[in-house]
């Protein structure tokens, strides 16, 4: 009994020991965080310093060239944006619908389990595998060729699991009473989804979509596999305009246009003999990073804005 009663001194020592551990963990935590931050700061500042002389309007408005100082990223950033547009148009409806179905409609049985496990696994499949699949299906089977459409659909497949999973997470976070309340006043399942579940899940879904797109925009391997180009000095046709070649473009001609994307342009510049192209690569790397960061910023802003509107 006597041994269990601690003196004030002993208690203080115990507390001090506990606090020391606390402080040590805090220091380790800060150190780890600092490493992560340092890496990104070094990376960005290195690119900015190397690439600073290329941050001109010309760099954004010029096509690729054999002369480093004249070479720009026009076809690359336009290509990246258009591919992302197709990716979003294809992946968002499919992914959200699949997520809603799995959460709200599907029966809980072994088939659903199997599907769930497979979707989670799909998210871990190396992107090059999607490229090979797309080369066979989109490029040759469907005859889409080496086009923006093929690239967009390939990346859509790649981010589909991310969107499905984030849709489901977002739906699960909605309290069951919302669903029950809606059903209680006689709404059908579809009406419940349409007026309650999807609007409330939207912030989470959007976050998933943007994170998916941010991953897709940096992908190189599947895009190379399906045949993105390295030198392309023209833009996809603008709908209903007549190009320099005298051909008037239809509404959807641009999706069949050949293209290049930012990561491929960067890769090409880093592997060229002339060291002056390293400057271009650094500048383009920074632009790509800025694109990804601003996409993330949009996601955060939208989430914040939509959460404010939700009142339960």
């Amino acid at each position: 009994m006597q041994a269990n009663i601690l003196t004030t001194e002993q208690i203080r020592a115990l507390i001090a020991k506990g606090k020391l551990k606390d402080a040590v963990f805090k220091a380790v935590g800060i150190f780890c965080l600092a490493i992560a931050l340092l890496v990104i700061v070094l990376l960005v500042s290195d690119m900015v310093m190397k690439g600073s002389e290329r941050f001109t309007v010309d760099f954004f408005m010029n096509f690729a060239s054999r002369r480093a100082t004249q070479a720009g990223i026009l076809s690359a950033w336009v290509g990246s944006l258009l591919v992302m547009l197709v990716t979003a148009l294809a992946a968002v409806p499919l992914g959200v619908a699949a997520g809603v179905y799995l959460e709200e409609y599907a029966k809980r049985n072994w088939i659903t389990e199997l599907i769930e496990i497979n979707i989670t696994n799909l998210a871990a499949v190396p992107s090059i595998v999607y490229g090979l699949l797309a080369l066979g299906i989109f490029v040759y089977q469907f005859g889409f060729g080496q086009s923006i459409l093929s690239a967009g659909l390939t990346l859509a497949l790649l981010i589909l699991p991310i969107i499905i999973v984030s849709t489901r997470e977002a739906i699960r976070a909605i309290p069951a009473m919302i669903r029950e309340g809606s059903m209680a006043v006689g709404a059908t399942r579809w009406q419940t989804c349409r007026y309650h579940i999807i609007p409330y899940a939207m912030p989470g879904i959007l976050t998933g979509v943007i994170i998916g797109l941010a991953r897709a925009i940096g992908e190189t391997a599947p895009i190379i596999t399906i045949g993105a180009l390295t030198f392309i000095a023209f833009l996809p046709p603008v709908p209903y305009t007549t190009g320099t070649d005298g051909v008037t473009a239809g509404m959807f001609d641009w999706v069949m246009s050949p293209f290049t994307v930012m990561p491929i342009q960067i890769f090409n510049w880093t592997s060229r003999p002339d060291p002056a192209f390293e400057v271009n690569a650094a500048a383009a790397g920074f632009v790509l990073m800025a694109m990804v960061l601003s996409m993330n910023a949009v996601a955060i802003y939208l989430r914040y804005k939509m959460r404010k509107n939700i009142k339960w």
Binding site: A64, S65, R66, V86, A88, L89, A90, V92, P93, V96, F144, L149, R194, I198, P199, M202, I224, G227, A228, L229, T230, F231, I232, A233, F234, P237, G243, T244, D245, G246, V247, A249, G250, M251, F252, D253, V255, M256, P258, N268, T270, S271, R272, P273, D274, P275, M306
Partner: protein, 333 residues
């Protein structure tokens, strides 16, 4: 917000539905293939589009000589860049698909053996010495310079070379070791030549090889090693002049562009070929390759005019062939 997502899905459906109904597309000249030939073709494409005020579109991709021929023989591209002649297997592929082509050498690439500029003992090397250094039997055994030549110091050898998938690797091993793709494996291999440039420039005892352009752009960081020409016995440094006069042998090789015969019926493709051959000499120099003699470009145009189909190599590479010999030979499909 929900309206937005409805609009999005409607657009997606419309998009997929309308793609079937394609309208007339602009003519695009499609080129793909070797990364070695890429800088030349890119320069020509850039100038051609400028000259035509963008009325004709040209695209150039990089999928390697082999990857390029795959697409070429599937009838997907008009031109194929190649850092080696077409192989027997590729010829068969093309034949099966009914793709006929004309072979056009467009420039020389001099494979350059480079050393660190601070290296004082290496002035020249013979093919035999390079063989001792690079053959598969050297793996793990030849690790010091004096094992290759007793006159050289007792210092470690640091080797840098091309990755096993590249045409450069294939040609270098065939020319130096005597058999294509036969090399020791214990060296720093990279498909990215800039990695090799960095490696050699940082180590006094390093030796490496890659295309001449990478040396020419980095002469302050590297020194080119003179290689003894086995025919004359004289050590020759890689330079534009020595490649042109044929003394830099056996490491200089012609590189090619193959054009599909069917595509040549299109006026814009024919125009592109003519533009290529007229401007190749100047543009080749600008991207640090060595141009062929003027007669070769004229010869190529002549072959196009006469529709001289096929390759003059018969499906396998040759070491140390001169351009004059090349132009005189009879091509075969």
């Amino acid at each position: 917000m929900f309206k937005f997502s409805k609009l999005v899905s409607a657009l997606a459906v419309a998009g997929v539905a309308l793609i079937g109904a394609q309208s007339a597309q602009a003519q695009v000249i499609k080129i793909d293939g070797s990364s070695t030939v890429y800088p030349i073709t890119e320069a020509v494409a850039e100038e051609f589009q400028k000259a035509k005020k963008n009325a004709i579109k040209v695209t150039v991709g990089i999928s390697g000589t082999g990857g390029g021929f795959k697409k070429f023989c599937r009838d997907e591209t008009d031109f194929s860049n190649a850092s080696r002649p077409i192989t027997k297997a590729e010829m068969d592929l093309c034949k099966a698909a009914g793709v006929e082509y004309i072979e056009m050498p467009v420039a020389f690439d001099a494979l350059t053996v480079v050393i660190n500029p601070k290296n004082a003992f290496l002035k020249q090397a013979t093919v035999a010495e390079m063989k001792v250094l690079w053959e598969p039997a050297a793996q793990g055994k030849i690790t010091k310079w004096n094992q290759v030549n007793p006159a050289w110091p007792d210092a470690p050898v640091k080797l840098f070379g091309a990755g096993a998938d590249s045409g450069t690797f294939e040609y270098f091993t065939e020319a130096m070791v005597g058999k294509a793709k036969s090399s020791r494996g214990d060296y720093t291999a990279s498909e990215d030549d800039n990695v090799l440039v960095q490696g050699v420039s940082r180590d006094v005892n390093a030796i490496g090889y890659f295309g001449y352009a990478y040396y020419a752009e980095n002469t302050s960081k590297l020194k080119a090693l003179a290689i003894v020409n086995p025919k004359t016995g004289k050590a020759v440094e890689p330079s534009a002049a020595n490649v042109e006069n044929g003394t830099y042998a056996p490491l200089s090789r012609p590189i090619f562009v193959y054009v599909k015969a069917k595509s040549l019926q299109k006026p814009e493709v024919k125009e592109f070929v003519e533009f290529y051959m007229k401007n190749a000499a100047a543009l080749t120099k600008e991207v640090k390759y060595v141009p062929l003699p003027a007669s070769a470009y004229v010869g190529n145009l002549e072959h196009v005019k006469k529709n001289k189909l096929g390759t003059v190599f018969g499906g396998h590479n040759e070491i140390g062939i001169t351009i004059e010999e090349l132009m005189k030979r009879e091509a075969k499909m």
